[in-house]
């Protein structure tokens, strides 16, 4: 089998996160629960986020979906725990920009998320990679507004580009 562009999609680090997803267990105690759903493919993610003051203390990532969305959620669990809400939101915004093909300064470290940038070659799959992150931004917004829950159905085509 010759190597096709799909190999840029399913890189080993992506598959590893898919096979052994980090943070994939419900939390006993959390402050906000946010759900995101992608109606076009049936991907669903529920995030449980526990805060310690301004920091994210723990994240439970309960995913049901394709390898791209589960590995993206797993990478998120690794990246955001221990960070401030502000820092986590920055990572989410940068990842969104990268996935939409915008230029991002080279010094921005996306960690394992770099491995997901191959998804850009498959425009219909970009929303799979973004689902956990957009849901995280929902959770952060809910926290700031003093709500304990958030539920969103992602727009099929125009998931927020802001």
């Amino acid at each position: 089998m010759t190597e096709g562009p799909q190999d840029a999609l399913y890189r080993e680090v992506v598959l590893d996160h898919h096979r052994h997803p980090r943070g994939a267990r419900p939390l006993e105690r959390f402050d906000v629960q946010a759900s995101g759903k992608n109606p076009s493919c049936g991907d669903e993610v529920t995030l449980q986020v526990a805060f310690d003051g301004d920091r994210i203390a723990a994240v439970g990532v309960l995913s049901q979906g394709c390898a791209i969305s589960t590995s993206s959620g797993s990478m998120m669990a690794e990246l955001v725990v221990g960070r401030t809400v502000e820092e986590a939101a920055q990572v989410a915004e940068r990842f969104k920009k990268v996935m939409h093909g915008d230029d991002v300064p080279a010094e921005v470290d996306l960690g394992d998320l770099e491995a997901l940038t191959g998804v850009r070659k498959f425009p219909v799959r970009v929303k799979c990679a973004l689902l956990p992150w957009i849901t995280l931004l929902d959770a952060i917004l809910a926290r700031r507004q003093g709500r304990a829950a958030s539920d969103r159905v992602m727009d099929v085509t125009f998931e927020e580009r802001s």
């Binding site: 010759t2 096709g4 598959l15 898919h18 076009s40 493919c41 394709c66 799959r125």
Partner: protein
């Protein structure tokens, strides 16, 4: 390759029918030959249809029913010939009962709007749990406008409609029954004639969505016995942007037009207008004349091969695919187990590989399938699965297409093995 047995012993299984007349099937995906298994989304087009499309635009392009000149006359004749050809093909009693639309979805919207004035708040429309969104959403919109109740024939675990429930579901207030002939997810071929017959006894109008059966199963308007039959050309080897609503002309007379505009009128004053005769009353604006001019070439092919032979072939491909998928093990396969009870498609769920990932890996093998909910979200909720992978077949599908699918699933399982 699997050794074939029982119903898969059909000569055409190895070669497909008339495959060499479909030029697109000769292309490659990367360095792999194309294995097109998404005919339920849209069929590929034979050379004769492509040539007819080009011929229309090269030699006859003009609007219909308008100009008093040679070009307009030829275009009008090509357009009206399509109407007559479709009427003859599906056994419509009169070409005047064939409305040319943009597709099955347009036909269903036309019906849901056209019947509105006959319905009162509290009236009921009976659908099924296996409907495509096209035969669900227009009725939901109508129900909301008019204060109607929607009711649904349940789907049994074996993928068949639970018709034991029909006597209680066909109530005093039921006015319309609309159901799919062949499910685009389960493949189930529904006993539409029986449902239409039982509805007619109660004076209930019946609509049959033949989007998946036209061109694939023998289809006869009189035998179905429904008041209205809808389908698209593009799933029956014809061009996109063309579909039909077939009825007796008297039944069309009862419908209010959905779209107003040119061509659908008889006399127009500034304040009011009168409508043209049926079926032109429902054909406002410039239709897709080129598609109409080309579709008869697809019907020619279907009739040349013969509907029973096409059906036999697609059933053999389906039986072979069911056998191969079952041999893989671990898959949940939806719909009737018997290939004689289903149209030419198989939907399945592989717990090892999500449908979207599978679809991407299959693409590397040149295998084109559909992954998702196939415009049937309520049915997927009924099945308890977020998405499925669907392989669907046409007259040109052959054994090596299925073999490539199986090889691709094996490869995907290797990639995603936990």
């Amino acid at each position: 390759m699997r050794q074939s047995g029982r119903s898969t012993d059909v000569d055409s299984l190895a070669t497909g029918l008339a495959r060499d007349r479909f030029p697109l099937l000769a292309r490659t995906i990367g360095d792999r030959p194309l294995h097109y298994l998404d005919t339920a989304a849209t069929s590929q087009k034979p050379e004769a249809v492509l040539a007819a499309l080009a011929h229309f635009y090269r030699h006859q392009n003009a609007n219909v029913h308008r100009g008093l000149n040679t070009l307009a006359e030829e275009a009008t004749e090509a357009y009206e010939r399509c109407r007559r050809r479709v009427a003859g093909w599906v056994g419509a009693p009169d070409a005047a009962g064939v409305v040319i639309t943009r597709g099955a979805t347009s036909s269903l919207n036309l019906l849901a709007h056209g019947l509105e004035h006959l319905l009162l708040p509290g009236d009921e429309i009976l659908l099924t749990e296996m409907e495509h969104h096209a035969n669900l959403v227009p009725w939901q919109m109508l129900a909301r406008r008019r204060g109607l109740q929607l009711r649904f024939i349940p789907v049994r675990d074996d993928g068949e409609l639970d018709l034991d429930r029909l006597p209680e579901l066909l109530g005093e207030r039921t006015r319309v029954v609309s159901l799919v002939h062949a499910s685009n997810v389960l493949g189930t071929v529904n006993p539409v004639a029986e449902v239409a017959d039982r509805s007619r006894q109660r004076g209930i109008l019946t609509v049959v969505d033949a989007a998946q059966s036209a061109g694939h199963l023998p289809l006869d308007f009189a035998a179905v016995g429904a008041d209205f039959l809808v389908f698209s050309a593009h799933k029956a080897y014809g061009p996109m942007g063309l579909g039909f609503l077939v009825a007796r002309p008297e039944a069309l007379e009862r419908l209010e037009p959905l779209e107003g505009g040119g061509e659908m009128i008889e006399w127009v004053d500034l304040e009011s207008s009168t409508w043209a005769e049926v079926p032109r009353r429902f054909e406002a604006g410039t239709p897709n004349v080129a598609a109409a001019a080309a579709f008869p070439a697809a019907i020619d092919l279907i009739e040349e091969l013969g509907a029973p032979a096409i059906r036999r072939h697609e059933a053999a491909v389906t039986a072979y695919a069911l056998d191969c998928l079952q041999d893989l093990g671990g898959l949940t396969i939806y719909g009737p187990a018997d290939s004689e009870r289903r149209g030419g498609l198989v939907s399945f769920w592989d717990p090892l590989v999500h449908p979207h990932d599978l679809s991407t890996i299959l693409d590397r093998h040149g295998v084109v399938v559909r992954a998702g909910h196939h415009c049937a979200q309520p049915l997927h909720r009924r099945l308890g699965v977020p998405a499925t992978t669907r392989a669907s077949f046409g007259l040109y599908t052959r054994r090596d297409d299925i073999d490539a699918l199986i090889e691709g699933i094996r490869d995907a399982r290797k990639v995603f093995a936990r």
